[in-house]
C-alpha cells in the first residue's frame, strides 16, 4: 500500500463523491477536511466505507478520531501505518 496512491484515490473520492465535482475546490492532501467543514462526520463515514471496500481492510470505530482523519495526508498515513 503506497501512501501516495492512497492519497490520490482519497482525493478523487472526496472530490467526486463528497464535493460533487466542485470545480472551485482544488483539494490538497494537507487541507483540513473537518474544521473547514468541507467534510462532516457523515462524510468521514463515507471515506471509511470507501477505504474499507477499496483496500479490503477494517477500520475499528476506536480509530475513527479527529487525529486520524483531519486531512487526506493524515488519513493515508494512518492507513499505511496500521495496514502496512
Amino acid at each position: 500500500m503506497e501512501q501516495i496512491e492512497v492519497q490520490n484515490n482519497l482525493i478523487d473520492f472526496v472530490v467526486s463523491e463528497l464535493l460533487n465535482d466542485r470545480t472551485d475546490v482544488d483539494l490538497q492532501p494537507q487541507d483540513d477536511l473537518l474544521s473547514s467543514q468541507l467534510v462532516d462526520s457523515l462524510g468521514v463515514m463515507r471515506i471509511i466505507a470507501f477505504l474499507e471496500e477499496r483496500y479490503g481492510i477494517r477500520i475499528p470505530p476506536s480509530d475513527v478520531t479527529i487525529e486520524n482523519f483531519i486531512d487526506v495526508q493524515t488519513i493515508s498515513t494512518y492507513l499505511v501505518r496500521s495496514n502496512g
Binding site: S41, L42, V44, A49, S62, V64
Partner: protein
C-alpha cells in the same frame, strides 16, 4: 389556487417517487389526516424598516425558484408520488397587528393557531404571512409540511428569501444562481439505497430491539398525537461547560457537533434509565443525510431517523455510558445511508433526540429573532422528543422537550424536565459520577413521598391489645352470639368463660420460658377458644394445621421451640411424642364459673401470635406479631369495615395464613359474630360455596383466587355487601365480575400486606370509574403504617417508576422467631425515621397517577399462588432431596387463553390482511409481507397450476386402470365452487359419486341446492354423517378456535373410507386456489433452492399423511383404520379441481345459472352453507383477535378472485351472540372457558439419574410439603438451561405440555354420557386438550382448588360429585362408576308385574273426563335419529326404555265407577312401525297426520300399552321417529329422561355393546304412597284454607265444573298460536332473570293476569298453574329419573293492583306467587288423595271461571346436544276430540327455536276467535311491556310500533306509557 395538473418543467419528469424519509412522513400523515403533526412552522421577528410590498414580491420569486415550495404529493391507488407544479399561488398574507395593545402577543397567538392548520398534501404545502408589529418591527410567519422540508431546508429558504429581498430592494433584476433540485436527491437515494452492509446492520439492530421504554412506568399503548412543548434554556454557563466537556480527550471526536450529540445522547439514556428502571434502551435520532455541498444547499426533506441502542450496566458513570454511546454513534453514522431507514428500525424507540445544527442568519442585514412554533401535535410513537437547537446562533442551547400529552400529564412533564436538569448538572459537575448516584427528586417530591403520603392515618390509637377489647365486649354484650359452628354456638360470655378456664389450666402447666403455645385444630369453636386462652396467659399462639404432613408439623414445632400444643378434646392429631398435649374445653360444664380478664395485663410489646411462612432457604420461618401490631390492624379494620355495625364474618380459610386473623378478631373486637365453616377431613375445601349458600354472613375476607371460583351465580340478593380481598394480585377484570355477581353496591376492598406487616397495611376500595389498569391498586397505608417505594440505595423513586415496596409503622413484626440474621436482613433501619425499622417486602410497587400504590408482582423467587406465599426454593430443596434427582428448578407458568383482539388493527392496502394476523408486517406503503413475498414467487406459483387437459389425462389414465362404477368421488358442499366442479366433472363424461357431510348444521338453502343439483345432473349422491360430529366440533374449537378444521378432517376421513369401499380411485375436492395457498403452497415451498413443481405434490402428500396421524377427536371417534397404512393414498388419490380449472367467479355463476339453477343460500347470512360457521368465526375472533377467513380471503384477493373491498366486507361480520351461545351449548362446549383468565401453576423441572416416575416424585413432595406447594407439572429434562451468567434461564424452560401430559396410562376415550361429561369438565378445568378415562387427576395437574371447580361445575350438569370422591377416585372411569353407585342409593326396586298403583293427582284430574277421552290423551314427539342408526337398533333401544320405566307399562282400567291402576302382568314387546314406507305422494302434513293416527290407535291404557313408535321417511329422504306416549306415563321432565336413556341405549347398541343398566329413581308406587300419606298429614290440612281462598269458591261446589253433557255446544277450537320475537325472547329469558327481581314464569303470569283483567275487568284474576310436582316437603324420595305424570296443578288468585303501573303488577303477582305454599303440590293431594271426603269436595269447583296457564320452559332442550335424536318439533298434546273444556281458556307457553311460543285454546262457547286473537296479542304486548319495566327501560322510547299486535292507537299508547311511568316519545 394550485394548478393540480402535473406539469413538466425543465425536462424534469414528474411523478417522482417519494424518498424513504418522505414515505415515512407521508404514511404517518395518512394515519392522522386531520392532525398537523408534521407542520414545521417558524415565526421570525424582523427589526428595521421593511418594505412589505417588496417582501411579498420576494416571496413570490422564491416560490417560483424553489421546487420544494411547488411540490405536492398526490397518491393514486395508495401509491404516493411527488408532483412539481408549474406555478403555485403563494397565498402570502399581509396582516397588521400593530394596533393591538400587545402586538407581539397577538401575532404569536395568531401564529400558534395558524400553524395547527393541516395541509392538504395534494395542494400547497406551505403557508406564509407577513405581520406588521410596529413601525420598524415585523414578523414573518412561515409554515411548511415536513414531507417537503426539514429544519435545515428552512434555513436555506430563509437565506434565499433574504437575498432575493435584498436584491429587489437594491433594484437588481438578476435573481442569482438557480436553486438545486430535490429531484437530484431522489435520484441519488435510489442509487444509494440500502447498500448491502448498511441493510445488514439495521436488520441486526432491529432484531435486537429492546422493549419500548416505560417512562415513569407508563407505556400507554394508545395515545393521540397531542403534544406539549416545555422549553428549557440551557443558558451561557451550562452551554459553555458542555462545550468544554466536548473537547475533553475521550469525548472530543470528529466534530464538535458530534461530540455534543454524544453528550446529549448520554444524558437522554441516563434519563430514560432512571425514570424507567430499564437498562436496555433505544432512542431514535435523525441523521441529516446531506453528504455533499450541493445537498447542503437543497431545499427538501433529507433527514431520516435511525435507532441508537445502548445497554447500561450497574455502576456506569456518565463517562462509561458516553463511551458506549459514542461507539454506537460511529456505527450509526456509518450505516445512516440515504434511504436505509425502515419503519421497523425504530420499534422500541419512543424517545427521539434531535440535535439540530442549523441556524438562521440576519435578514437583509437586519437582526432576526427566530421562533420555532409547536403545532401541538407530533408523531404519537414519540412520547418524548428532545430537540436541541440554537437557531439564532446565540451560542446558548435551548432544549425543546415535546411531550406526548397522553403519555405524560402536566405534572410529569414539568417533573421530567427537572429530573433531566439534575442529571445534566450532575454530568457537567462530574462526568465520573455514577449515574445511579444522582439524586433525581426535588425536595417537594421527596417530602410528598416520605411524609405527605404516609401522614393521613398517623396517631390514631387503637389500644395496645385486642384481648382487652374482646373482654370488654363480653361485659357489654354477654348474651350476644360470638361464634357459631355446625349448629353449635357460643355467646360472648361463654367464650370468655371457656377461654379463661383454658388459660387457668394452661397457666398451671406452662413454664416461664415457654413464650409460644401451639394451637393445632381444624376450624372449629375450639380454635377460637384456644387462641384466646393462650393470649390470656400472656403467651403467643402458633396455629398449626393437623392436616400438614407429619414432617412439616415436626419441623415447625421444633423450630418454634414449642413444648405445649392445644388440641381438640376429641379427635386424633399426629404429633411428636415428647410434647405436652392439652385439650381445649368445649362445654361450660368443663369451665369454671369465673371469667378472668387478662387484657389489661398485656403489654404492647408482648407477642400475640407466631405464624409460619414459606422460606426461600427451604426452611419455613416464624413471623412474630406483637399485641400492639394486632390491635392496630384490628382497630383500624373495625373502623374501616365494620363502622359501628354488628357484622358476621365467616371463618372458612386455613388458619395457618393470616387471612383468618381478620375473620376472627375483627368481629370479636366489634361485637359481631364468626360463622365457622369446618373443613371436612381429606376433602378439598368447598367451604366458600357453603358460605354463599347459607347466606348468613355480611362480609367475607378471601383471596382473589377464591373469588374467581364463584361463577355464573347471582348473589345480588345475598347478605354479603363487602368483600375484603387479600393475599395476591386483584385484577380489575375480577373486580368487575364480582360486582356483576354481588351487585354494584358491594364494596370490594383490596388489602395488601405481608405477614410481616400484620395482615394488611395498605388498602384501597375498588372504584370502577377510576381503576382502569389491569390490577386494582393497593392504595394507601392504614392507620399508623407507612409505605415507601425505594431503589436499591433506599432512595424514593420518581412517581410511576417501579421499585421495591418497604413498609414501616406499628404493624411491623418483631422479626422472625429464633432467626436474628434473617430478621436483620429483611428488617432494615428506616432512613427517614431514626430508630425505626422498615420491612423489605420483596414486592414491586409504584405510585400511580392518583397517588395510590400499584402492586406489580414479586421482585424475587417468591410467588403467590391463590394467595399462598410460596418460596420456590423451598420446593426445589425438597425435590432435590429425592435420591434419584440431580437438580431441580421450580417455575410458575400461566396459560394464556385469551387472544389479543387489538383495537388498533389496520389492513394491508393490497390484500386486506389484518395487522394482528400472526407474523404480519407492513411496509411503508402498507403492503403486507405476504404480498411482498408473493411478488417474488408468483411466477413459480403460477407454474403449479395446470390445464383441464391435464385433468382429462389423469382420469383417462385412471380409467385404463380398471372397470369401475365410478370414476371419481366429488366432495360436494353445496356451495358454488363445489357445484361448479361437479357439473364440469359430469360434463367431462365422468361417472361421479357426490358426497356431502351432513354435520347437522347444513343450511336448508344449501341442502335444497344439493338436492336440485344432483337431480338435474343425474348423479348418485351420499350424505355422510357421524354421531361424533359435535364432539369433533368441540375439539376443533379448542385446538384451532374454529369449526372448519374438524369438519374438513371428518369429510376426508369419511370420503376416503367411502372411496375405498366403493373402489373409487379419485376424490376430487373443490378447494379454491386461495385455499391452496392458505394450506399448502407456502412461501417456503417455492423459495427452497432447487425448487421443483413435483416437490409440492410430494410435500402435500407427506403433509396429508401426517395430518391423518394427529391425535384429535376426529381420529379418536371416527374409523381411521384405513390411515394406519400410508398406501391408502396410493389407492385413493386426491385431485384438487381448481388446480386445473381457472374459471372466474362470474363465469362460474353464469354457468351454474344455465346448468343447474344454483341459488346462493339466503339462510346463512354469508357465503357459506353451514350454520355453525358463525360459531367458529366468533370464537376465533374472540380468542385470536382476527377472523379465521382473514388469511384465505387475502389469498383470494392476491389471486385476483376477489377485490380487497369485497373481502373486507365479508369479514365484517355481525354475529348473533345468543345464537352462538345456543349452538355452543348444543354441541356441548363450555363457554365459561372463554371468559376465564389464565391461572398460575407450578411446574417442576428436574434432571435425574435415569428415568424417574413423576408419581414417585409427587408422593415425595406430598409427604414433605402442604398441598398448595405441590407442583402440578413435573418435567424431566436432559439439562437445566442456564444463561450466560450461569443462572438458571427461566425463559428457556420449556412450557409444560399444554395437551394431555405424557402419562403412564394409555389414552382411553370416555364411553358413557357421564364419562364424556366429566371429561369435558376436566378438560376445561385442567386446561388440557383431552382426558382419557384412566388418566389420574393429579397427574394431569389437578389440585384441590381445581377439585372444587370440578365439583361446582359437575353440580351444574346434575352430577353430584363429592370432593372426597375426586381425591379417592382420581380417574374418570372410577369416578363415573362411583357416581353410578351414588345414584344407586336413590334407586328403588321397580314395581313388580301386577303391582297395584294409587293413581297420582293428575291421573285423577284426567279421570274426570269421559272414559273414551281418558284413553286418548297423548303426547306426540317427532325426532330425527342420527344417520346410520338402523331401525332394529332403534327398536332395541325403545325396548330398553320400556323395560326400564314402569310407567310405560301401567294399566288403567275403569271398574265399578272407579279407575284402577297396576303394572302389566306380562312383558311387552315394542313394535317399531314402518309407516308409509315406499312411495306415498300425499303432502307431508297428511302423511304425518295419518302416521300419528296409526300410532294413537296402538295406545291401549287398559292393556298397559302406553308407548307407540313408528318410523317414517320425510321429503328429504331422511327418516324420522315418531313417538306417541299417553300422558299418564310422561310429563316434560319424563321426556328428557326418556330421550337420554333412548339415546344412550341406541349408541351402545350401535357399538355392539350391551346397554348399561341405568338405575331408576324411586318407583311410582312408593311415590304415590308418600303422596297419599302426605295428603292426610297435618301439614297438608293446614293448607286447606289457603287453597279454598285461592279457588274462590267458598267451601267448594262439590261438583267438578266439567259440562258432563258431551254434546254441549262448547267444542274446543284449534288453539291460536303467536310467538314473541327472538330479541324479546332473549330479553325475557336472559336479561330479566339477571335483574334478580322476577323470574320468567312470574313475569309471564303477571302479563297473563293483566291481559285477563283488562279483558273482563274481574278481580281477582283466577288462574290454574302447573308445576313439575317432583318435590314433596319432608320426603327424601328422589323421582328425578322416574317416568310418570308428576305435575301439580293448583289455583292462584291474583288481586288486580289498585295502582295500574307495570311495577305494581310485577310486584303484586310476584308476591301472590311467592305466597303459594309447598310449590302448589298439596292442592292436588287434598283434592284427590285425601281420605276425608269433605276435604276433597271442599276443593272441587271453580275451574270454569279460571284460565289454565302452563309454562313448559325451553323444549329445545328436551334432548341433549350430543343425543342421537334431535327434536324436530315441539312436544304436542293430542286429546280426544270429545275432550271437555274445564277452563275458560288454556294458555301454554314454551320456548322453541329461540322464540317464546304461546298457544291459547278455548271453547266455541266462551268467546269469539277474534276476541281470543286480541287477547293473545295483548298478552304478548304485556309480556314485552313488563320486560321493559323489569329491565328498567325508559318508556319514552316506546311507540305504537313497539306494540304491533295490540293495534294501539294514540290513546292506548298514552295509557301504556303512563303505566310504565313515562311519556310516549315518537308517537
Amino acid at each position: 389556487m394550485a394548478n393540480l395538473q402535473p406539469q413538466v418543467e425543465g425536462g424534469r419528469s414528474n411523478g417522482l417517487p417519494l424518498t424513504q424519509g418522505q414515505q415515512l412522513i407521508w404514511s404517518g400523515q395518512q394515519l392522522h389526516p386531520e392532525s398537523p403533526l408534521y407542520n414545521m412552522a417558524f415565526m421570525f421577528t424582523l427589526s428595521g424598516s421593511l418594505d412589505a410590498d417588496v417582501f411579498g414580491r420576494a416571496f413570490g420569486t422564491l416560490v417560483s425558484r424553489c421546487e420544494a415550495l411547488r411540490t405536492v404529493i398526490v397518491s393514486e391507488q395508495g401509491v404516493p408520488a411527488q408532483h412539481l407544479l408549474e406555478s403555485v399561488a403563494d397565498g402570502h398574507q399581509l396582516l397588521d397587528f400593530s394596533f393591538e395593545t400587545d402586538p407581539d402577543h397577538a401575532a404569536h397567538s395568531w401564529a400558534v393557531t395558524q400553524c395547527a392548520e393541516p395541509f392538504d398534501l395534494a395542494k400547497r404545502l406551505f403557508d406564509s404571512a407577513l405581520i406588521k408589529l410596529g413601525e420598524r418591527r415585523h414578523a414573518w410567519f412561515f409554515s411548511q409540511h415536513h414531507v417537503v422540508c426539514d429544519a435545515w431546508s428552512i434555513t436555506i429558504i430563509f437565506r434565499e428569501l433574504s437575498e432575493i429581498y435584498a436584491r429587489l430592494i437594491e433594484g437588481a433584476r438578476q435573481s442569482g444562481p438557480a436553486m438545486p433540485s430535490f429531484a437530484d436527491y431522489v435520484a441519488y437515494e435510489s442509487q444509494a439505497r440500502i447498500k448491502g452492509v448498511a441493510a445488514g446492520y439495521w436488520d441486526q439492530v432491529r432484531s435486537q430491539a429492546p422493549a419500548p421504554v416505560a417512562l415513569y412506568g407508563r407505556n400507554p399503548g394508545r395515545v393521540s398525537t397531542r403534544s406539549e412543548r416545555v422549553v428549557f434554556e440551557l443558558g451561557e454557563e451550562r452551554t459553555a461547560r458542555l462545550r468544554e466537556l466536548a473537547q475533553l480527550p475521550g469525548i472530543r471526536t470528529l466534530s464538535v457537533d458530534l461530540a455534543l450529540f454524544n453528550l446529549f445522547a448520554t444524558l437522554v439514556f441516563s434519563f430514560l434509565y432512571r425514570v424507567s428502571g430499564q437498562r436496555d434502551l433505544a432512542i431514535g435520532a435523525p441523521a441529516h443525510n446531506r453528504p455533499t455541498p450541493a445537498f447542503k444547499q437543497t431545499v427538501g426533506l433529507f433527514t431520516e431517523v435511525y435507532p441508537l441502542h445502548v445497554a447500561l450496566t450497574d455502576g456506569d458513570t456518565f463517562f462509561d455510558l458516553h463511551a458506549k454511546v459514542s461507539a454506537q454513534t460511529m456505527m450509526f453514522l456509518r450505516n445512516a445511508l440515504p434511504g436505509a431507514s425502515h419503519p421497523g428500525n425504530n420499534a422500541g424507540c419512543n424517545t427521539v433526540l434531535n440535535y439540530i445544527n442549523a441556524a438562521f442568519g440576519d435578514f437583509a442585514g437586519e437582526p432576526v429573532q427566530p421562533l420555532w412554533l409547536h403545532s401541538g401535535h407530533k408523531d404519537r410513537e414519540h412520547h418524548l422528543r428532545l430537540q436541541v437547537q440554537d437557531f439564532a446562533a446565540t451560542g446558548r442551547f435551548t432544549l425543546y422537550f415535546d411531550f406526548n400529552c397522553d403519555a405524560f400529564n402536566r405534572t410529569q412533564r414539568q417533573a421530567a424536565v427537572a429530573h433531566f436538569g439534575r442529571l445534566l448538572d450532575a454530568m457537567l459537575g462530574d462526568p465520573a459520577c455514577p449515574i445511579d448516584d444522582v439524586p433525581l427528586l426535588g425536595p417537594a417530591e421527596l417530602s410528598w413521598q416520605v411524609d405527605d403520603f404516609n401522614q393521613p392515618g398517623q396517631g390514631r390509637s387503637h389500644g395496645n391489645n385486642v384481648l382487652a377489647r374482646i373482654e370488654q365486649q363480653a361485659l357489654a354484650t354477654p348474651a350476644a352470639t360470638a361464634l357459631s359452628c355446625a349448629g353449635q354456638s357460643l355467646t360472648y360470655r361463654e367464650l370468655n368463660l371457656l377461654a379463661s378456664h383454658l388459660a387457668r389450666n394452661l397457666g398451671s402447666n406452662l413454664t416461664d420460658n415457654e413464650r409460644v403455645v401451639a394451637v393445632c385444630t381444624r376450624r372449629s369453636i375450639e380454635t377460637v377458644v384456644g387462641m384466646l386462652g393462650v393470649m390470656k396467659t400472656g403467651r403467643a399462639y402458633l396455629p398449626l394445621d393437623p392436616d400438614w404432613p407429619a414432617e412439616r408439623l415436626a419441623l415447625v414445632i421444633e423450630d418454634a421451640g414449642v413444648s405445649t400444643v392445644l388440641v381438640p378434646a376429641t379427635g386424633e392429631v399426629r404429633l411428636p411424642q415428647h410434647l405436652r398435649i392439652l385439650p381445649i374445653p368445649t362445654g361450660l360444664s368443663d369451665a369454671g364459673a369465673e371469667a378472668r380478664d387478662a387484657g389489661s395485663a398485656l403489654q404492647a410489646g408482648d407477642l400475640a401470635y407466631v405464624m409460619y411462612t414459606s422460606g426461600s432457604t427451604g426452611k419455613p420461618k416464624g413471623v412474630m406479631i406483637r399485641h400492639a401490631s394486632l390491635a392496630n390492624y384490628v382497630g383500624w379494620a373495625c373502623d374501616h369495615y365494620v363502622r359501628g355495625r354488628v357484622l358476621t364474618f365467616p371463618l372458612f380459610t386455613p388458619l395457618t395464613f393470616d387471612l383468618t386473623v381478620t375473620s376472627i378478631f375483627v368481629p370479636l373486637a366489634s361485637g359481631g359474630a364468626i360463622a365457622i365453616y369446618p373443613p371436612s377431613p381429606g376433602q378439598a375445601d368447598l367451604a366458600l360455596l357453603d358460605v354463599l349458600d347459607d347466606n348468613c354472613v355480611d362480609i367475607v375476607k378471601l383471596t382473589p383466587s377464591h373469588l374467581a371460583l364463584i361463577q355464573g351465580r347471582d348473589l345480588r340478593a345475598s347478605r354479603i355487601r363487602q368483600l375484603i380481598l387479600g393475599g395476591e394480585d386483584f385484577t380489575v377484570a375480577l373486580a368487575r365480575r364480582a360486582r356483576e355477581i354481588f351487585g354494584e353496591d358491594t364494596l370490594l376492598h383490596n388489602e395488601y400486606g405481608p405477614t410481616e406487616g400484620t395482615v394488611g397495611c395498605i388498602v384501597h376500595t375498588f372504584d370502577p370509574v377510576s381503576d382502569i389498569e389491569s390490577s386494582v391498586p393497593v392504595g394507601v397505608p392504614i392507620d399508623n403504617m407507612r409505605a415507601y417505594v425505594l431503589d436499591r440505595k433506599l432512595r424514593p423513586l420518581p412517581r410511576g417508576v417501579a421499585g421495591e415496596l418497604y413498609i414501616g409503622g406499628v404493624g411491623l413484626a418483631d422479626g422472625y422467631l429464633n432467626r436474628p440474621e434473617l430478621s436483620a436482613e429483611r428488617f432494615v433501619p428506616n432512613p427517614f425515621r431514626v430508630g425505626e425499622l422498615l420491612y423489605r417486602t420483596g414486592d414491586l410497587a409504584r405510585f400511580n397517577e392518583r397517588s395510590e400504590l400499584d402492586y406489580l408482582g414479586r421482585d424475587d423467587d417468591q410467588v403467590k399462588i391463590r394467595g399462598a406465599r410460596i418460596e420456590l426454593g423451598e420446593i426445589e430443596k425438597v425435590i432435590t432431596s429425592h435420591p434419584a434427582v440431580a437438580n431441580c428448578v421450580v417455575s410458575v407458568f400461566e396459560r394464556d387463553v385469551s387472544g389479543d383482539p387489538s383495537e388498533d388493527v389496520v389492513c394491508c392496502s393490497r390484500c386486506g390482511l389484518p395487522s394482528n394476523y400472526p407474523g404480519a408486517s407492513f411496509d411503508e406503503q402498507m403492503v403486507c409481507n405476504q404480498c411482498r413475498a408473493f411478488e417474488r414467487y408468483q411466477d413459480k406459483a403460477t407454474n403449479y397450476f395446470q390445464s383441464m387437459d391435464d385433468l382429462h389425462a389423469i382420469f383417462d389414465a385412471g380409467r385404463a386402470d380398471g372397470n369401475r362404477d365410478y370414476d371419481c368421488l366429488a366432495l360436494l358442499s353445496g356451495g358454488k365452487d363445489s357445484t361448479y366442479m361437479l357439473c364440469r366433472l359430469v360434463d367431462m363424461g365422468l361417472s361421479v359419486l357426490a358426497f356431502t357431510l351432513d354435520n347437522g348444521y347444513i343450511s336448508d338453502g344449501a341442502k335444497a341446492n344439493i338436492g336440485r343439483v344432483v337431480k338435474t345432473l343425474g348423479v348418485d349422491h351420499v350424505f355422510g354423517s357421524t354421531p361424533a360430529m359435535n364432539e369433533i366440533f368441540v375439539d376443533s374449537l379448542r385446538r384451532h378456535a374454529n369449526v372448519c378444521q374438524g369438519c374438513f378432517k371428518t369429510i376426508y376421513t369419511l370420503s376416503v373410507n367411502l372411496a375405498l369401499e366403493r373402489d373409487i380411485p379419485f376424490i376430487v375436492t373443490g378447494l379454491s386456489r386461495g385455499q391452496f395457498f392458505e394450506t399448502r403452497l407456502t412461501e417456503e415451498v417455492f423459495t427452497t433452492p432447487g425448487f421443483d413443481g413435483r416437490d409440492i405434490d410430494e410435500s402435500t402428500m407427506l403433509a396429508r399423511k401426517a395430518y391423518h396421524r394427529v391425535d384429535d377427536a376426529a381420529n379418536r371417534l371416527l374409523d381411521v383404520e384405513v390411515f394406519k397404512d400410508d398406501d391408502v393414498f396410493e389407492k385413493v388419490r386426491f385431485i384438487d379441481f381448481y388446480r386445473y380449472c381457472a374459471a372466474d367467479l362470474q363465469a362460474m355463476l353464469d354457468y351454474l345459472d344455465r346448468r343447474v339453477a344454483w341459488v346462493r343460500p339466503a339462510d346463512t347470512g354469508r357465503s357459506t352453507n353451514c350454520l355453525i360457521n358463525d360459531v367458529g368465526i366468533f370464537m376465533h375472533q374472540r380468542q385470536r383477535g382476527y377472523h379465521n377467513y382473514a388469511l384465505p380471503y387475502s389469498w383470494d384477493v392476491r389471486m385476483g378472485h376477489k377485490t380487497r373491498e369485497a373481502a373486507l366486507a365479508e369479514l365484517d361480520d355481525e354475529i348473533d351472540v345468543a345464537n352462538v351461545e345456543r349452538i355452543l351449548q348444543e354441541i356441548g362446549y363450555d363457554i365459561d372457558v372463554v371468559a376465564r383468565p389464565g391461572e398460575k401453576r407450578l411446574a417442576a423441572y428436574f434432571t435425574a439419574h435415569g428415568k424417574v416416575a413423576t408419581e414417585d416424585l409427587r408422593a415425595w413432595v406430598k409427604s414433605e410439603l402442604p398441598d398448595f406447594m405441590l407442583p402440578s407439572h413435573f418435567v424431566q429434562l436432559e439439562r437445566i438451561p442456564l444463561s450466560s451468567n450461569g443462572k438458571v434461564d427461566r425463559d428457556r424452560l420449556p412450557p409444560p405440555d399444554a395437551g394431555r401430559p405424557s402419562l403412564e396410562a394409555a389414552f382411553e376415550a370416555p364411553r358413557t354420557p357421564v364419562e364424556r361429561q366429566l371429561a369435558e369438565i376436566w378438560c376445561n378445568v385442567l386446561r388440557v386438550d383431552q382426558v382419557g378415562i384412566r388418566d389420574n387427576f393429579f397427574e394431569l395437574g389437578g389440585d384441590s382448588i381445581m377439585a372444587i371447580q370440578i365439583v361446582a361445575r359437575a353440580r351444574r350438569f346434575g352430577l353430584h360429585v363429592l370432593p372426597s370422591q375426586l381425591v379417592d377416585k382420581p380417574t374418570i372411569a372410577a369416578l363415573a362408576a362411583s357416581l353410578g353407585s351414588t345414584a344407586a342409593d336413590a334407586q328403588d326396586a321397580p314395581m313388580a308385574a301386577g303391582d297395584d298403583l294409587v293413581p297420582m293427582p293428575m291421573a285423577h284430574w284426567l279421570f274426570e273426563q269421559p272414559r273414551h277421552v281418558v284413553a286418548h290423551w297423548n303426547h306426540v314427539l317427532r325426532l330425527r335419529p342420527a344417520a346410520g342408526l338402523l331401525p332394529q337398533q332403534i327398536e332395541q333401544g325403545l325396548q330398553v326404555v320400556l323395560d326400564r320405566h314402569e310407567a310405560l307399562t301401567m294399566r288403567y282400567r275403569h271398574d265399578a265407577g272407579r279407575w284402577l291402576a297396576g303394572r302389566r302382568k306380562t312383558a311387552l314387546r315394542v313394535e317399531l312401525r314402518e309407516l308409509n314406507a315406499g312411495g306415498d305422494d300425499r303432502p307431508q302434513e297428511d302423511r304425518l297426520r295419518s302416521a300419528a293416527e296409526t300410532l294413537h290407535r296402538d295406545i291401549d291404557i287398559g292393556e298397559g300399552r302406553l308407548l307407540a313408535a313408528g318410523l317414517l321417511s320425510s321429503d328429504s329422504g331422511m327418516s324420522e321417529l315418531m313417538l306417541v306416549i299417553h300422558h299418564l306415563a310422561v310429563d316434560v321432565v319424563s321426556w328428557a329422561v326418556l330421550l337420554e336413556d333412548l339415546s344412550v341405549a341406541c349408541a351402545q347398541i350401535q357399538e355392539g355393546l350391551q346397554p348399561t343398566p341405568v338405575p331408576q329413581t324411586a318407583s311410582l308406587q312408593r311415590w304415590a304412597a308418600a303422596l297419599q300419606a302426605h295428603a292426610n298429614s297435618e301439614h297438608a290440612r293446614a293448607e286447606l284454607g289457603y287453597w279454598q281462598d285461592a279457588l274462590g269458591v267458598a267451601g267448594g261446589t262439590g261438583v267438578a265444573d266439567l259440562p258432563q253433557d258431551a254434546t254441549a255446544d262448547n267444542t274446543p277450537m284449534e288453539p291460536l298460536r303467536r310467538s314473541l320475537t327472538a330479541e324479546d325472547t332473549r330479553a325475557l329469558l336472559q336479561e330479566v332473570p339477571r335483574t334478580g327481581r322476577i323470574s320468567v314464569v312470574e313475569l309471564l303470569t303477571a302479563a297473563l293476569a293483566r291481559t285477563l283483567a283488562d279483558a273482563d275487568g274481574t278481580s281477582p284474576v283466577r288462574l290454574f298453574l302447573e308445576g313439575h310436582g317432583r318435590q314433596l316437603t319432608g320426603s327424601p324420595l328422589d323421582v328425578s329419573r322416574t317416568l310418570g305424570w308428576f305435575t301439580s296443578l293448583y289455583p292462584v288468585s291474583i288481586p288486580v293492583p289498585g295502582d295500574d303501573r307495570a311495577a305494581s303488577w310485577l310486584r303484586d303477582v310476584k308476591e301472590a306467587l311467592r305466597r303459594v305454599p309447598s310449590g302448589g303440590t298439596v292442592f292436588g293431594l287434598l283434592r284427590y288423595l285425601s281420605d276425608d271426603k269433605a276435604t276433597r269436595l271442599g276443593l272441587v269447583g271453580g275451574d270454569a271461571g279460571a284460565v289454565l296457564f302452563n309454562y313448559l320452559g325451553n323444549t329445545d332442550q328436551l334432548s341433549a346436544p350430543d343425543s342421537m335424536f334431535k327434536v324436530l318439533q315441539p312436544l304436542a298434546l293430542h286429546r280426544h276430540p270429545d275432550a271437555l273444556l274445564r277452563y275458560r281458556g288454556e294458555v301454554n307457553a314454551m320456548v322453541t327455536g329461540g322464540h317464546l311460543v304461546v298457544d291459547w285454546s278455548h271453547g266455541s262457547r266462551a268467546r269469539s276467535s277474534a276476541d281470543i286473537e286480541r287477547d293473545l296479542g295483548c298478552f304478548l304486548d304485556n309480556v314485552r311491556m313488563l320486560v321493559y319495566a323489569a329491565l328498567g327501560s325508559d318508556s319514552s322510547s316506546l311507540s305504537e310500533s313497539d306494540f304491533p299486535l295490540a293495534n294501539l292507537d294514540k290513546n292506548g299508547l298514552d295509557k301504556l306509557a303512563s303505566l310504565l311511568g313515562g311519556k310516549p316519545g315518537k308517537a
